[in-house]
């Protein structure tokens, strides 16, 4: 029998990017919040700049819940799914914000109104066949105050391009209007970044520094970035990367209203006879607990959010919690980032000391920033040239056909070229389709015997057409900067697991096609909220974290404002 705990106002399942933000406005408003986190506290002492530990041995996570629940993946429902090799996310207080790249973009206004805008400009026939894409139930303007708040609470560096309609050519002239600039200036550029920006300008494009949840100067009593080069899958030894375990979570703890429970492995949500959620079941080791709550917010990763709902079957919800309309797991997509382009330069890039969030962005070919009339796709991509190089990965570089990848000839090659290659990061508009979805795998289980998530997902013609188009643009840019070799990767097929996994509990006004309403609360169980990118219906061409955090703050603020209605 589980130990029955005292009822609390709100339980948040998962204290990562999303839950770690939402906890703060709730606790600040005086609600009693219990944060159940599968991982543990980690800090600077755990964040050695050690490539073997971070990038090859999967980091010092003390708890590997996500790893034990790795999804299976397949391209289509005709294929057999196989379990992915490793989970891209981690468990800890702060979640994957501990080791993420920290690129912190706002979506473009177009991303919220893709259907309306595409129909208006090009006609309804341009919505790709089979796509289930909808306009968001809210527009950019409605989310802007929360973007602004999170940029300050978390701490984002960047260069504004549009402040209340005034365009600043140093920033992104395509961004939606912001009420004010970033709280910190952008991260510095290297000489190679400057060179790439010059090349973009000579092509007539508009390069700008990208936004980052990394301190470009001392902020919030923590130091500026050390540019040490181990940021990708590495925690920050200086506390200059603004993960939620050093920003919003400790602020929430300081109110005295957030109780953090670590190593808490949530298994199911409990439902009463009236269809309302009454609390959550969790394990700490082999000890079982039941935490009653007036309101439950699930804030684990997309795969785990969907899995928790599907595993929580009850009389009121026989097919899983909040799934009486059969929408849980649908409208899934992972961000299309394949279709890579790599280049070899005849000069050193001096990229040893940098981070993936430091770099040059070009948005001229993103979203609907260019005319698609004569193109065979909608949307586009963000071109991103970053500084990120570590010794083992540098020595493992593509040899561009100039030598074998081992032996004495390779030693000569690598001695000369280890700092001369660059791989771009191109995030592309990715749409939901009727045959891409998440469900429970019929065969594979975790060590508790509970089924893992099965991903069925394939990039379609629209995504592949964008990828080919963006590869042309990226190659043009590299050549302009003097690249002597350019390689292209494949255009993408199976979606697989991703750190940018969207949908499965989509947000929308129509309960027939969406799991949560415009505030992030279930259409079916009114005191259940969902946080994270699982509520997002479009991806845009940029990292999801800031949008997910702004939505989380908004859901929390709505809960505070409507406490009596939601908590009854």
């Amino acid at each position: 029998m589980p130990t029955q705990l005292r009822e609390t106002d709100v339980v948040i399942v998962g204290l990562g990017a999303a839950g770690g933000v939402a906890a703060y406005p709730l606790a600040e408003a005086g609600l009693n919040v219990v944060g159940l986190e599968a991982g543990t506290w980690l800090d600077q002492r755990d964040f050695a700049p050690d490539e073997i530990r971070n990038n090859y041995r999967d980091w010092p996570m003390l708890v590997k819940k996500a790893e034990r629940e790795r999804p299976t993946s397949r391209a289509t429902s005709a294929d057999t799914a196989s379990q992915i090799g490793s989970h891209p996310m981690m468990n800890a207080v702060g979640g994957t914000t501990l080791h993420y790249w920290a690129q912190s973009w706002r979506l473009n206004p177009w991303d919220f109104r893709m259907v309306t805008e595409t129909t208006r400009r090009y006609g309804a026939s341009r919505i790709p066949a089979g796509s289930t894409v909808e306009d968001w139930p809210l527009g950019y303007d409605e989310l802007e105050p929360y973007y602004d708040r999170v940029e300050r609470e978390v701490g984002i560096s960047g260069q504004a391009g549009n402040v209340r309609g005034d365009i600043d050519p140093r920033g992104n002239r395509f961004e939606g209007p912001r009420q004010r600039g970033f709280p910190m200036p952008p991260l510095r550029w290297t000489a190679f970044n400057d060179r790439m920006a010059d090349a973009a300008r000579s092509l007539g494009w508009s390069p700008f520094p990208g936004p980052a949840a990394v301190n470009s100067e001392a902020y919030d009593n923590r130091p500026e970035c050390g540019y040490h080069g181990f940021c990708s899958k590495g925690g920050c030894p200086l506390n200059a990367k603004n993960a939620t375990h050093i920003t919003t979570i400790p602020r929430a703890v300081d109110t005295g209203n957030l109780k953090v429970v670590t190593r808490a492995h949530v298994t199911t949500l409990e439902v009463g006879s009236d269809g309302r959620v009454i609390g959550v079941n969790y394990l700490v080791g082999s000890n079982q607990y039941f935490q009653p709550a007036k309101v439950v917010l699930i804030a684990s990763y997309t795969y785990e959010n969907v899995r928790l709902l599907l595993l929580s079957k009850s009389r009121a919800y026989p097919d899983g919690l909040s799934n009486n309309h059969g929408q849980v797991g649908l409208h899934y997509f992972s961000h299309h980032t394949s279709g890579s382009v790599q280049a070899l330069f005849p000069y050193d890039t001096k990229a040893w000391y940098g981070l993936p969030a430091q770099g040059v962005a070009v948005d001229d070919w993103a979203d609907d920033n260019f005319d698609h009339t004569d193109l065979d796709f909608i949307g586009g991509g963000n071109l991103w040239v970053m500084s990120d190089r570590r010794p083992i990965s540098a020595a493992s570089m593509n040899t561009y056909g100039r030598s074998r990848n081992w032996g004495s000839a390779w030693k000569r090659f690598i001695h000369e070229h280890s700092d001369r290659s660059h791989g771009s990061y191109i995030q592309k508009t990715t749409l939901p389709y009727e045959d891409n979805y998440l469900d429970l795998d019929p065969q594979v289980t975790d060590p508790l015997g509970l089924p893992v998530i099965r991903i069925t997902g394939q990039f379609k013609d629209n995504e592949r057409a964008i990828a080919a188009f963006m590869q042309d643009k990226m190659e043009e840019w590299y050549r302009e900067a003097g690249a002597v070799e350019v390689n292209r990767g494949g255009l993408g097929n199976t979606m697989g697991a991703s750190t940018h996994a969207y949908g499965g509990t989509r947000m929308g006004d129509d309960a027939e096609t969406n799991v949560v309403d415009r505030w992030g609360f279930s259409h079916e169980a009114p005191n259940l909220g969902v946080l994270g990118a699982s509520v997002m219906g479009t991806s845009g061409a940029r990292n999801p974290t800031l949008t997910s955090q702004a939505l989380s703050w908004r859901t929390a603020a709505h809960l505070v404002d409507s406490w009596t209605d939601i908590a009854q």
């Binding site: 700049p49 040490h228 010794p391 081992w406 032996g407 690598i414 700092d419």
Partner: protein
């Protein structure tokens, strides 16, 4: 069950600076103490010992480089693995190779720790490499000329050595890629794990070393080829567990 520990107090800027043994601007940790002028890699005795003969260099004698027997591989397996990693990253005019850099010790330790699941793959793969060598080149792998060793390794890398009777589990390419990946980790990873002895790997690729803070001036020096490499493990900072 509540984690009463909570977030530990942050390491103060003063602690960081004290540990790093230097003061610097803007909370960055300069590498002043660790700045060591890069020396040109010493030509190892092994490289000098290589002798010419028809068909290429004789494989170098690896025995003197072994600090001691490996715990996870037999003497025979160790000989084959030595010969293989010596071809992957040979000692040559550009400096130390995988054996000099302690790659065998790296792999041996890894097989005791993080890569313990790979021990069987090493055993079966090394035996299969030798079997393939005998079948197709008429001699054990360690007795082939370097040219023949390379041609065997190319077959193994491409998956062409896969087949009944040879003994690779799955594709021979999987075995090759595993050993190559571990060899690169041992050559270019942090010296804490037993490899990258004398920073041989980092010198080969001109990696300027682990720093916690790189100031704008450091970056400018790097871009002007005037930044001296630091030679230390991440764990020499005394900050990390």
């Amino acid at each position: 069950m509540t984690d009463s520990k909570g977030p530990r107090p942050a390491i103060s800027r003063r602690d960081l600076l004290r540990t790093a043994g230097a003061a610097g601007a803007a909370a960055l940790i300069p590498d002043a103490v660790g700045g060591v002028t890069k020396e040109s890699p010493a030509t190892s005795a092994r490289a000098a010992a290589g002798t010419e003969r028809a068909g290429g260099l004789l494989p170098s004698d690896t025995a003197p480089l072994l600090a001691g027997p490996l715990t996870n591989l037999t003497a025979r397996e160790t000989e084959i693995l030595s010969a293989m990693v010596d071809r992957l990253i040979p000692t040559d005019e550009l400096g130390p190779g995988a054996l000099d850099a302690g790659v065998l010790q790296y792999i041996d330790r890894a097989l005791s720790e993080a890569e313990s699941n790979a021990a069987d793959a090493y055993r079966s793969g090394l035996a299969a490499l030798d079997t393939y060598s005998r079948y197709t080149r008429g001699r054990p792998f360690i007795d082939l000329s370097t040219i023949d060793q390379d041609s065997v390794l190319i077959d193994v890398q491409l998956g062409a050595a896969t087949g009944a009777g040879v003994g690779f589990v799955g594709s021979s390419g999987s075995f090759f890629n595993m050993v190559k990946s571990h060899t690169w980790q041992g050559m270019f990873g942090d010296p804490k794990y037993g490899g990258n002895v004398d920073f041989a790997g980092w010198d080969l690729i001109d990696y300027p070393g682990v720093r916690l803070g790189v100031s704008p001036e450091d970056q400018q020096r790097l871009e002007a080829d005037q930044l001296d490499p630091v030679r230390r493990s991440a764990y020499d900072f005394g900050l990390f567990e």
